[in-house]
């Protein structure tokens, strides 16, 4: 089962929950950091990184000295990713869908595949478990292509060594967050019982509900704020699986980059309970 851990906004404890769940998970599991813009799961899990590879996106590159400005490519491209303007040929690699049509049609063979570095894919081990992380190159604007590369790698690893995956998704409800959760089997939303937390939680529920995946909530820093998150969950049939108490020890452990499930037996059993509920709900979702 692929489980994505998401949140409507950053700072709700999404990564803490991901790390703890991965640490106590019963059975083979891969911890995946898909928050490629700001990966930080490794700070908690301290994986031994075994390999790192660069991920690239193929984009057309024009050799201007060969180009005769005939416009064949520009007339062909539906996405306006390659254009002749006046006596300049311009490419917009971020709009390119990589179909290769422009290359095929160019009478001067002026176009070839170039590539743009998207970021790095790291693999390793955290205890007995696998670890996978994507980190976006600084300055790269698009995260979904790198995220797809991480997911493809995960799928390959899982066919070799079947198991579950806990995926730390990007915060928010924008395109990268949707890209992270859409093809998982279970979405776990981490939220706080504060007005801001509630507001962003509602946005996340709205954004992810159309995928019709089993969805549940974890309330972090429970004891702060009010009950509106809970009331909303009841109305929308989103089970609240556990409450993580608001407490100084947890905050301290977090700031030192520790896995909070390791802190004391009470917290550990909280996460064990969370893992069991997820497995039950996930199994139910598949039968339905």
């Amino acid at each position: 089962m692929l489980i994505s851990i998401a949140s409507g906004k950053g700072g709700t404890g999404k990564t803490t929950v991901s790390a703890s769940l991965a640490a106590i998970w019963d059975g083979p599991v891969t911890a995946v950091d898909l928050d490629v813009e700001e990966p930080n799961l490794h700070l908690f899990l301290n994986p031994q990184v075994e390999s790192e590879e660069k991920v690239y996106l193929s984009v057309p590159e024009v050799d201007e000295s060969k180009c005769n400005l005939c416009r064949e490519c520009s007339n062909l491209c539906q996405f306006k990713a390659i254009n002749v303007m006046g006596s300049t040929i311009l490419t917009f690699p971020e709009m390119c869908h990589g179909c290769g049509g422009c290359m095929a049609i160019c009478p001067e063979n002026a176009i070839s595949w170039g590539r743009r570095e998207l970021g790095t894919l790291s693999r390793g081990k955290t205890g007995p478990n696998n670890f996978l992380m994507g980190s976006l190159r600084v300055g790269e604007a698009m995260s979904p292509p790198l995220m797809r590369a991480v997911k493809e790698r995960l799928a390959m690893d899982l066919t070799e060594r079947p198991g579950d995956a806990i995926i730390d998704a990007p915060p928010g409800v924008s395109c990268p967050a949707v890209c992270a959760v859409m093809d998982t089997d279970f979405i776990l939303l981490v939220t706080e019982p504060t007005p801001f937390g509630f507001h962003d939680f509602k946005l996340a529920v709205e954004a992810f509900a159309p995928f019709k995946k089993p969805m549940a909530a974890v309330i972090n820093r429970s004891g702060l704020g009010d009950n509106s998150v809970e009331a909303f969950c009841r109305e929308n049939n989103i089970p609240v699986l556990v409450h993580i108490p608001f407490d100084k020890d947890i905050a301290g452990a977090y700031s030192r980059g520790r896995v909070i499930a390791d802190l004391n037996p009470g917290l550990k059993s909280l996460f064990v309970q969370l893992a069991e509920s997820i497995k039950e709900m996930g199994a139910g979702g598949r039968d339905a």
Binding site: S74, K80, N83, M85, G86, T88, L90, F92, M95
Partner: protein, 117 residues
């Protein structure tokens, strides 16, 4: 003198400035010295699902204009215009093409250094 392209809702100097650059109805291309003008239809980019702004920039570049007067320009179109050396003046909507050209001639305009949309 430099030709200017004004996004417009119709072909004449009395038509209103179309506030949208990428999906403008068309461009009135004007020689501000003689006020001679011609109309360039922009229907091809209006119909596009992607890259309307880039198509519109291409239409402007093809018209030979070096300045665009319009309401607002999106980021991709802005990059495209910049790459071919066409200057952009934004926020000239709510007036006729002729008024926009007069504003330009009076010098009471600002060249944009970034897209406003």
């Amino acid at each position: 003198m430099t030709k200017i392209a004004v996004t417009s809702e119709g072909p004449s100097m009395q038509d209103m400035v179309d506030p949208r650059f990428g999906r403008a109805g068309g461009f009135v291309v004007v020689d501000p010295e003689t006020m001679q003008h011609e109309y360039v239809d922009n229907g091809s980019s209006q119909a596009m699902a992607h890259g309307a702004g880039i198509q519109a920039a291409q239409n402007v570049a093809d018209s030979g204009a070096h300045v665009v007067l319009t309401g607002y320009v999106g980021p991709k179109a802005f990059d495209a215009l910049k790459a071919v050396g066409v200057k952009v003046i934004q926020n000239l909507d709510n007036m006729s093409v002729e008024q926009a050209v007069q504003r330009y001639k009076s010098g009471d305009v600002q060249y944009a250094d970034q897209p406003n949309k």
